[in-house]
């Protein structure tokens, strides 16, 4: 049994303009000790998927259906108090912006201790010792002295380390990291990713890494999901995604990845804007931006199907297998050499 199995998850928000289908039928699973990467543009539903699993969406005007089985227990049906037991204890989350994710009026020690005391029946002194231990593990220098400092006395990278310490303090089975490196500079990004990888192997946790950056995925993911307009368009093991990407949107993501070793004049961008989730386009949701659009794409929505002979590689595109392999090879060559 997988640690987390998400089946046909849908999250709809009722707004004044209509129903926003923020997540529309997403399925995936995560095994113990594994890292799943979820990639996609802003607004593709990556974060909402995870917030739904955590039960952190606003209560009003939100409907979530489907299943999120965590150790066999459906989180979508769990009571608020059961969810509180799970949150921060079995499933923990690290958020995108470390500058605003810590409460400015409490010391980081107090915030770490709170996380322990909410789930463990230990004394304050024991909780504090645990907090100190975690701060040392995430590499905060002079951790003893910094325990009583306030968030504004830490840099962005240090705050994200504190957030990671807070997420791991109760030894969760699953860590959800929602763009944990987006707000950080590149050198700090690499350190934070290395830290998450190291702690993951130390604690044997599973990780869901949400990102819009394929570079991050390349660093740490075992499996990759590509999301577009609230749906999964491609799902594959890490090496398949990078060597045999099948969906034109995935190609676009790869083309827009800056590389030091290639000699491109400018990055290749995906033309147009992501569609409105109030009224997504008919047929394939990517068709208005797709360079390979065919007649069928405008009317019939492609299903997420396995690639022939590759049962772990799923993709949702009407193009035939031969074209996909050929175009993928050609484009990867282009990105690598810079030859147009």
């Amino acid at each position: 049994m997988p640690l987390l199995e998400v089946k046909d998850l849908k999250t709809y928000f009722a707004t004044g303009d209509g129903v926003v289908k923020a997540v529309d039928g997403v399925s995936f699973s995560v095994e113990k000790g594994q890292t799943l990467g979820i990639v996609g543009e802003s607004g593709s539903g990556k974060s909402v998927t995870c917030l739904t699993i955590m039960g952190l969406n606003p209560k009003q005007r939100t409907t979530s259906t489907g299943q999120a089985l965590f150790n066999g227990e459906d989180l979508l049906k769990a009571s608020p108090s059961r969810l509180r037991e799970i949150r921060g204890n079995d499933i923990a989350m690290v958020f995108q912006d470390p500058m605003t994710s810590l409460n400015p009026v409490h010391t980081i020690g107090a915030q770490l201790v709170e996380a322990v005391l909410l789930h463990r029946d230990v004394s304050k002194a024991q909780a504090r010792r645990r907090a100190l231990e975690l701060l040392k593990q995430v590499g905060i220098p002079r951790a003893e002295r910094r325990l009583d400092d306030y968030p504004h006395q830490f840099s962005g990278g240090m705050r994200q380390r504190v957030m990671i310490a807070m997420a791991l303090i109760n030894d969760p089975d699953l860590l959800i990291a929602d763009e944990p490196t987006t707000a950080l500079d590149v050198t700090t990004q690499a350190q934070i990713l290395a830290l998450i990888e190291k702690l993951q192997s130390d604690y044997d946790s599973a990780v869901i890494m949400i990102t819009h950056d394929l570079g991050v995925i390349a660093e740490i993911a075992d499996d990759v999901i590509v999301m577009y307009a609230a749906e999964v368009v491609e799902k594959a093991p890490f090496d398949r995604i990078f060597k045999h990407p099948h969906h034109p949107y995935t190609w676009g993501l790869m083309g827009s990845l800056p590389r030091l070793d290639a000699d491109l004049e400018r990055l290749i961008q995906i033309p147009g804007q992501p569609p409105s989730l109030l009224r997504p386009p008919p047929g394939c949701r990517f068709h208005p931006r797709c360079a390979y659009v065919m007649e069928i794409c405008r009317s019939k929505e492609p299903r997420l199907l396995p690639v022939p002979d590759e049962p772990t590689h799923l993709q949702a595109c009407h193009l035939d297998e031969e074209t996909k392999e050929r175009e993928a090879a050609r484009l990867l060559q282009t990105f690598a050499t810079g030859a147009a």
Binding site: M54, L56, R84, E85, I86, R87, G88, N89, A92, M93, F95, D97, T100, S101, L102, N103, P104, V105, H106, T107, E114, A115, L118, H119, Y150, H152, Q153, M163, M166
Partner: protein, 332 residues
């Protein structure tokens, strides 16, 4: 921290001088002779000149001002330097020391303002928080309508209506008047119970405007704070909603309210004029009106000095309090 306090004190002295100077000049500009007024209608010019000399109003303005400052100093240099108690001079009208006039009126105004503040916070906190939790609900819409009425209605009108309906028609409270908290004067009501009983209507009248402003402010602050990332972090840790509200939302949302409270106490002193007039409370506001009508500049200036000092001290206290509750200010 010490440097900060010193800087604030220097600033306070400068502010004090500017305020009293303006007060002085304004009085000088009034085209009426206080000596003539103090002397009475039947006085001859010779008698008026004598009175003017006695009151000191025949001296140039700057001499009058310096003498005023000299009286305020806690040290005197005439006959060798020695300490003395600061003095605000004597009323032109009845020759009473201004210090004792202010001393008698200040507790009345303080009772009104601080009691009113407690009431407006008791109204504003729960209503503001509940409105923020259920935006656009019936409670929220009702309270926002109440806020609009509270802001629009003038305290004099509110006071007269309340005094007529609750005090006169229903007879639940006194119509007007004040009862001393400590020493009841002979044959007059006094003591804490009578004090609160007499102040009930004035407190309500006084609190409505500010309660309205504060409901709106607290509602907006709480709603804004609820969307902060660190509130989501607290929920992600598994914190129960009551704890999220208390420790993470309110702790942050009420920071600006503390500052506003400090500033509004000063504003409230001015607003007290209306309430005191309506309910015949012998406070600073009523005293100011009376003294202004009598061209009694020492008393008005004395009240000005007292009010300025009170506001400066209050702001200093709030700033220090704010530095204490907000770590970001404390350490920078």
């Amino acid at each position: 921290m010490i440097r900060y306090i010193i800087r604030r004190c220097i600033w306070a002295v400068a502010l004090f001088i500017v305020v009293t100077m303006i007060g002085f000049v304004l009085f000088y500009l009034i085209p009426a002779d206080p000596a003539k007024f103090a002397c009475g209608k039947a006085c001859t010019q010779v008698q008026v000149d004598k009175v003017a000399h006695y009151l000191g109003t025949d001296r140039p303005l700057y001499i009058q001002y310096l003498k005023f400052l000299g009286r305020l100093m806690p040290v005197s240099f005439s006959g060798g330097p020695h300490l003395k108690s600061p003095d605000l001079g004597h009323s032109f009208v009845n020759r009473q020391p201004v210090t004792s006039i202010v001393g008698a009126a200040a507790p009345v105004t303080a009772s009104l303002v601080f009691g009113g503040m407690v009431i407006w916070m008791l109204i504003a906190l729960p209503v503001g928080i509940l409105s923020a939790l259920r935006p656009r609900s019936l409670l929220d819409r009702t309270s926002m309508t109440g806020v609009l009425i509270g802001i629009s209605a003038h305290p004099v009108w509110l006071g007269l209506i309340a005094s007529y309906l609750i005090g006169y028609k229903l007879g639940w409270t006194p119509i007007a008047g004040y009862a001393n908290f400590f020493h009841p004067l002979f044959a007059q009501p006094g003591g804490p119970v009578q004090w609160a009983y007499h102040l009930l209507l004035p407190w309500m009248t006084f609190a409505i405007l500010f309660a309205a402003v504060y409901v709106r402010m607290i509602r907006a602050n709480v709603m804004e704070t609820m969307n902060e990332d660190y509130v989501r972090t607290a929920r992600a840790k598994g914190a129960p909603e009551t704890r999220v509200m208390r420790s993470h939302i309110l702790r942050n949302a009420l920071l600006p309210v503390v500052t506003m409270l400090g500033m509004d106490v000063g504003l409230a002193l001015g607003g007290a004029v209306f309430t005191e007039t309506v309910y015949s409370l012998p406070g600073l506001g009523a005293q100011t009106i009376q003294s202004l009508n009598n061209y009694d500049s020492p008393t008005v200036l004395g009240i000005l000095v007292f009010a300025t000092t009170a506001i400066i001290v209050m702001n200093l206290v709030v700033d220090l309090l704010y530095a204490w509750i907000d770590p970001r200010i404390r350490l920078s």
